[in-house]
Symmetry: C2
Subunit: 245 residues, 2 copies
DNA sequence: AGTTGCACCTAACGCAAGTTATAATGAGTT
DNA sequence: AACTCATTATAACTTGCGTTAGGTGCAACT
């Protein structure tokens, strides 16, 4: 039972360790975040909608979620992927009204933290605040990289870049080994994240398979040639700010 | 002389006032930021390059600048516009290496602040920190909105949205009245910011003139029908988080 | 007066990517 | 077993937007 619960902060701990060395005490402090009951949502459910005024900070434990924005006529843009270990709403500390929505892409499990619980952890271990802020800054850097992708990269480059990014981030939380990882989202989701039509995502994936860059089947993505993929994507890992590779 | 110098923080003071009420003491504290000499750069000069490790926080006083990222083959994406009153590098507090560059779009004037000078102001007036964090969060929200624009909005919608955003932001720092403001950047810059070719930006502007949405000539932009422009852009001002309209 | 460079404008051409439609598969339901 | 519904695939058609290649006007410099 205990190990099941403490599996909750494992991705978060690994993630923050990428930015700075953390001790066993830090890890213990982080387990204080596991107070509340664990929440679950089905794929395609919303965790929060634009315009709401949330009072909790969500820590994703398993599954993939996303931040998205939509237009009155139904067009939708995914602006970020949340992977295990990610916080969805750290901005709650400062801003009131949400300017975006949060949706589950797969079935998800997450903790809902009240700001004061969160505060407690920071008070106990002040340098964790720095690690968390770092994580937020990296999230912001990822947004910028996505703008570069959508604005300038071709579809093959764009998907290549995204796959390398996801591989790096999943490896950081121990969810990717070799050049292979669970890829639980649909081509439709890829389209929404990359400003492409569903049909064109499919075409582009076919092309990437022909180029022997990736294998993608049965919700598993295998990168066949990581170096080539990085070259094509013009991937520069500095924006992830992982200090300890 | 004094009023010339204190004109430096005027845009910043106005900007932060949009988020929360500020007092004369706050204003006085902010003038402490004007310590160093004022710096200047020509249009098209860089203030900082990706990969650098800056030790200063830049506060833009006049002119327009941008945050941009570029690819090895020369493609370039502007990911944010900096207007007077904006900080270029608040993230220096946390991250070390820059994952983007900062460039002047017009001749600019700015202060370079050392983190400890900055700290001094925050210590004196703690709630200014909150206002500054707020400003950072808004910047992040603007990034998300841009992602929505580039990913989903048509060129006319995209430019419409940008013009409304710039009008709102410039009004907040007292640089736009009526429906008119100085528009010192080139169509080439608009192209770089919107993921469009120069030629297509020109086409799109022509169309917007035909639609009687805007007039743009002699570096002056006039919005002819703000409500119509907002409707076309599907502009929802919540992402700017201006509490006091 | 001539040159250079920059910003803006316009037209012709072609391809990349969106749209629409249809089919195959598989999982979950009744 | 028949139903839905989501997902992937792929073909035919259309179009938006990039590319290339010009043009003009203006300011700065020689």
């Amino acid at each position: 039972m205990t190990e099941l619960v403490s599996a909750g902060i494992e991705p978060l701990f690994r993630l923050l360790s990428r930015y700075m060395p953390l001790t066993a005490e830090d890890r213990a402090a982080l387990t204080m975040l596991e107070v509340g009951p664990i929440c679950t949502k089905e794929a395609r459910a919303d965790l929060a909608r634009e315009g709401e005024n949330p009072s909790v900070i969500r820590l994703l434990v398993s599954g993939w979620a996303c931040r998205y924005k939509d237009l009155p006529d139904g067009r939708r843009q995914i602006v970020a992927f949340f992977l295990p270990g990610d916080f969805c709403d750290l901005s709650v500390y400062i801003l009131s009204e949400l300017d975006h929505s949060i949706g589950a892409l797969t079935p998800v499990r997450y903790f809902e933290l009240l700001p004061h619980q969160f505060q407690q952890v920071i008070d106990e271990r002040p340098h964790l605040l720095r690690a968390l802020l770092w994580h937020e800054m990296v999230a912001s850097g990822i947004q910028r990289e996505w703008l570069l992708s959508i604005g300038q990269r071709t579809p093959v480059e764009r998907l290549s870049h995204l796959f390398v990014e996801l591989y790096s981030r999943l490896k950081a939380v121990g969810q990717a080994q070799d050049h292979c990882f669970d890829f639980p989202i649909t081509q439709h989701n890829l389209a929404e994240a990359n400003g492409l039509s569903l049909v064109h995502v499919n075409r582009t994936l076919q092309e990437m398979r022909r180029m022997e860059l990736i294998e993608l089947a049965d919700r598993q993505l295998r990168i066949l040639d990581l170096e080539k993929l990085k070259r094509i994507a013009m991937f520069n890992n500095n924006y992830l700010h992982f200090n300890r590779e």
